[in-house]
Symmetry: C2
Subunit: 629 residues, 2 copies
């Protein structure tokens, strides 16, 4: 799936009183010696998570807009909110007249910096919570304001929290630990590997701030953020010490204490010292105070400004991708096995779903929402199901053309024999994470729908079957997915693929397949990404074909400079609807790819459906995997 968030509340939030209180707080000497003239409310949390917990939805609280991307700024006279093209409509519906919508990407829209500079009185102070602004964003904003005679100020108390009387607590869900049968590597081994990289990088400390990296490092999972099995924590790893910052109550479960060896004797350098979540700031301060002048600290350049600035500049080594991010991306044999298992179960559920849809749709009782619910129900019957990995995109006809659509009661369409249906969905299982999109027609697709589908399929196959040298970055494959569409003057305005975690976030770095990135890391055997080209005809239909694929070694005829070659192996094994294809547009190679893919689907998922006694799904699978001529 591609990335976004939308929700049901489409009437504007009334914000007059809230803004009055916030402006009051901006002058309140409790928070600062001098009043501030503007306050910035970014949309992230202290860990720069893509999905955030309800307690972190501060931008939504103050302006009403609940999309995934947006920044609000409140001054004494104005209130404005910047978001991108995906959200113009939604934001205009969710915000009242107190707010100006700043449409990013349009030429006439000023940047936040330029807007602030144009309206602020001379010598103004602009405040922001340094915990929810990333260090690099702080730097840019601060530089722009300073050059215009203003200043950016870190406001330690969050002013939204000050006026948000019924703000939810930060979640502190039960932690789950994963054994070697799921992780393939103990946390002690991961710590050792991390330290080896630190030694090589001549670094003595590493500060982990990304929640999925910390979950991966300690082989722990939580449920603090919907769809993402992570928990609020920080970690600081030195050559002889491991500090985990987390709500200490969570560590009271004996089995968990065992897993982390909190009470048993162990080598001092493998002893985990648990600290309260909030103490990371003071502990990092203490560590830095005790630094020798040569000590270097690794921290992600996307970490919060607050934590980054604790580290004196001469010790600080900001990195685009941490060693944990890189290690986590290359799945080991156990993780790959788990991902395969998860995808088999997921495919079984989807085959059953499509068989059920075919039966029910003629009754005209199935809607986008009920289809999504049915998909969740069928997945939840699978072993080790934990939850969805993102909100299901279930869309009929014109709704399919809204790339980040999510069915709401007021937009909910009924599935029929006359329109294209696109479903992009996935789940978290204890053994792996899934993400799959299929586009199907239950009646007779038009020639144009089939033509577009076939171009998308050609792109999907071009990536999936690509052979490329070791060391190739994913962005170099993006054009393969578009060539067939381009040749007919078509395109799609999103990337082609993203990294996928193993029972972790469905979007993860540092690899992907997109024309937008350049600083991605080279693809390596064991990495897992999605392959999801699409085509969207506004007001008519949407098409996307998405598999999760594993990077595997390839064995072409030659081996130039012994570099070795790579290709992809699909983990997703759900038939691609032949009815939607114009097979005349496919080359023989592409037809062979489809037939071989369907052969594997039938063999692997057929056995699973049989084992599970799911006859409807099995019949559907057999029919949908007939070879094409």
């Amino acid at each position: 799936m591609t990335s976004q968030k939308s929700d049901s509340a489409m009437s504007p939030k009334i914000t007059g009183e809230l803004l009055r209180q916030l402006r009051q707080a901006m002058k309140n000497s409790k928070y600062f010696s001098e009043p501030i003239q503007a306050y910035i409310v970014p949309s992230g949390d202290a860990h720069q998570s893509e999905y955030i917990a309800p307690s972190d939805c501060r931008r939504e609280f103050i302006c009403g807009f609940n999309g995934s991307a947006g920044t609000a700024i409140v001054t004494e006279q104005h209130a404005a909110m910047w978001t991108d093209g995906r959200y113009f409509l939604q934001a205009s519906q969710q915000m009242d007249n107190n707010w100006s919508l700043m449409k990013m990407g349009l030429k006439e829209t000023p940047s936040q910096e330029d807007w602030l500079i144009s309206i602020l009185p001379e010598n103004s102070k602009v405040g922001v919570d340094p915990w929810i602004i990333a260090a690099d964003q702080w730097k840019n904003m601060s530089r722009a304001l300073t050059s215009a005679g203003h200043s950016l100020v870190a406001v330690q108390d969050n002013l939204i929290d000050a006026v948000w009387t019924d703000r939810p607590e930060r979640p502190s869900t039960q932690l789950r630990y994963l054994g070697l049968n799921y992780t393939g590597m103990s946390w002690q081994e991961k710590i050792s590997a991390l330290r080896a990289k630190m030694t090589k990088g001549k670094v003595t400390w590493f500060v982990a701030t990304a929640l999925d990296e910390i979950a991966w490092l300690f082989n722990l999972r939580g449920a603090d953020i919907e769809y993402n099995p992570v928990f609020f924590a920080y970690a600081i790893v030195g050559m002889n010490t491991i500090r985990l910052f987390v709500d200490l109550k969570r560590l009271s479960v004996p089995a968990l204490r065992d897993h982390l060896q909190l009470d048993s004797p162990c080598k001092p350098e493998m002893r985990v010292h648990a600290y309260p979540y909030e103490s990371v700031y003071s502990e990092l301060q203490a560590i830095c105070a005790a630094h020798s002048p040569k000590d270097k600290v690794w921290i992600s350049d996307k970490a919060s400004c607050a934590l980054t600035q604790v580290i004196p500049k001469i010790h600080r080594t900001p990195i685009p991708y941490t060693p944990l991010c890189l290690a986590k991306a290359v799945k080991n044999a156990t993780e790959i096995q788990g991902m395969k298992m998860a995808h088999i179960k997921d495919a079984a559920a989807l085959c059953e779903l499509f068989a059920w849809l075919e039966k029910e749709i003629p009754k005209a009782t199935v809607t986008e929402i009920s289809a999504a619910d049915k998909a969740e129900e069928l997945r939840s019957q699978q072993k080790d199901f934990v939850g969805l990995s993102f909100p299901t995109i279930s869309s009929v006809g014109p709704n399919g053309a809204i790339i980040h659509y999510r069915p709401l009661p007021e937009t909910n369409r009924t599935l029929s024999l006359n329109e294209v249906y696109l479903i992009d969905s996935g789940a978290q299982y204890v053994d792996g994470t899934t993400d799959v999109t299929r586009t199907v027609h239950f009646g007779t697709p038009s020639a144009y729908e089939k033509e577009c589908f076939t171009y998308v399929l050609k792109g999907h196959i071009a990536v999936s079957a690509a052979v490329f040298p070791n060391g190739t970055k994913g962005h170099l494959l993006d054009s393969f997915a578009r060539a067939a569409l381009w040749e007919s003057g078509l395109d799609y305005l999103h990337g082609t693929g993203h990294g996928v975690g193993c029972f972790l976030n469905v979007h993860e770095g540092p690899c992907g397949i997109s024309y937008k990135t350049f600083a991605d890391e080279p693809l390596e055997a064991g990495m897992i990404v999605s392959d999801e080209p699409g085509y969207y005809e506004d007001g008519a239909f949407g098409i996307r074909i998405e598999n999760v694929v594993l990077v595997v070694p390839a064995k072409p005829k030659y081996n130039y400079r012994n570099r070795g070659s790579l290709t992809f192996e699909p983990l997703t094994l759900v038939p691609i609807q032949v009815k939607m294809m114009n097979t005349e547009l496919l080359t023989q190679k592409e037809r062979d790819w489809v037939n071989e893919y369907h052969r594997i689907c039938r063999e692997v998922i057929g056995a699973e459906l049989e084992r599970q006694g799911r006859k409807g799904g099995l019949e559907w699978l057999i029919r949908e995997t007939q070879p094409i001529a």
Copy 2:
């Protein structure tokens, strides 16, 4: 052609005495208040030109190595020179024992900064000529040295020049002006267009430092640098003033004075004020001193540190591509017509060359050097020939695998019926610049040679025939050129294409087709680039197929979001040897492309050869453009 320089002097230069003198100068109080402990000698000139004049070959002078890329650093004890993989062998042959060769790209090789920091005594001063180091390089080096307690110092007098007693003068060749029939746009119109962009960018001054941009702006050409029809100059353009900094003697020719309207009455804002080349520093200083606080100055971020730092930071707006660079890249109708004419003449010369080679080779008297000479001779017979656009790469068998090969007496091979021959060559004509590579066999190529050639051809066609949306950056097309090679485990280690000037530099920005760049500007109709995939089998043969191609609008079936589509039209019209193709590996579409290309070659170049009465070339052309089945 790809980019490089090598030369004939392969015995090491004796540098002991020179180094002694340089180290003396590093302590000489004539140049600075305190001695410096290290001196950096970059390879560029004050305009960051790719090719440089003999007077600027300072790095070559001090160490003996004359490749196109390399930086020398001399300390009190050490002398080291950094260069990349293309030049390891050449550099080791050209430098004596006083020098350590620093092989860039190898893991064990320290960066210049790290090396300096590892060997310098505390608190050292490192000197560099601020005119030949680019502003961004200065910044990085300075930052690294400062963080280690050292400092980077701008040494105004070049210390190499101080010890280089027989240093050649800076060239000051005769200037040539181009009429509207060549340029399609007067320099006054170009100035007006530049000022319009400055107004839009809210900028009041523009400093031009790149020699090809200045030549283009004033519709002037020189011959100061071999292969590049440019002349040493700077230009500063304000909203009401135009200042040209150039050796004033060059402007004494009446026709030139007329062209620049130096003596005739004209609007004051179109008056060109000519200043001595050396006065650019003091004039820019004076301009900046008179600045209002809101004045902004555009300067390329690749301009020299010296000139960049004249502009106070708050006025300075460094830009990756100047408006001249962008305007120059999009050729107008007159320039396109000129480029087409130049390519027709160039193709006629090459057809004649290949016909001559076929006749002469059996006598075993043609060598790489004599073939290159013959190519030059035949080109020089064409109308408006000025000179070569780069040193001809003429290579037989294993020499072809050396990507930047240039035949030298000691490597010169004889062309035969048994080896592959690769010739990459081009010329400057008054109406345009050419650059073409053909790979041919005069006997019977092996199956493997044909197979590799065919993969390269498939890549060449994939780029040339690609249809892509307006706004696409060239680097997104790079993988198309490699897909067929990758599929068989092969690849080539250079980019696929570069921008080509119109009677200007054969390499120009801001567009190109390479996996290495990301900050290239989108391709636009009217831009001209090369399409030159290759394959190099070390010790055996090299293959490259290069056409210069023009970006043109395409008209595919659909037009998504009215973005419009683009494709390429080959300007180079020289047959691609069918004998080298394994046509069974080509798809029908690829065969059609070859036949259509050869049809046009025959039609257009055939007519020209006929007109010129070149029967040998014409017969060869007719035979080589027979359609394939």
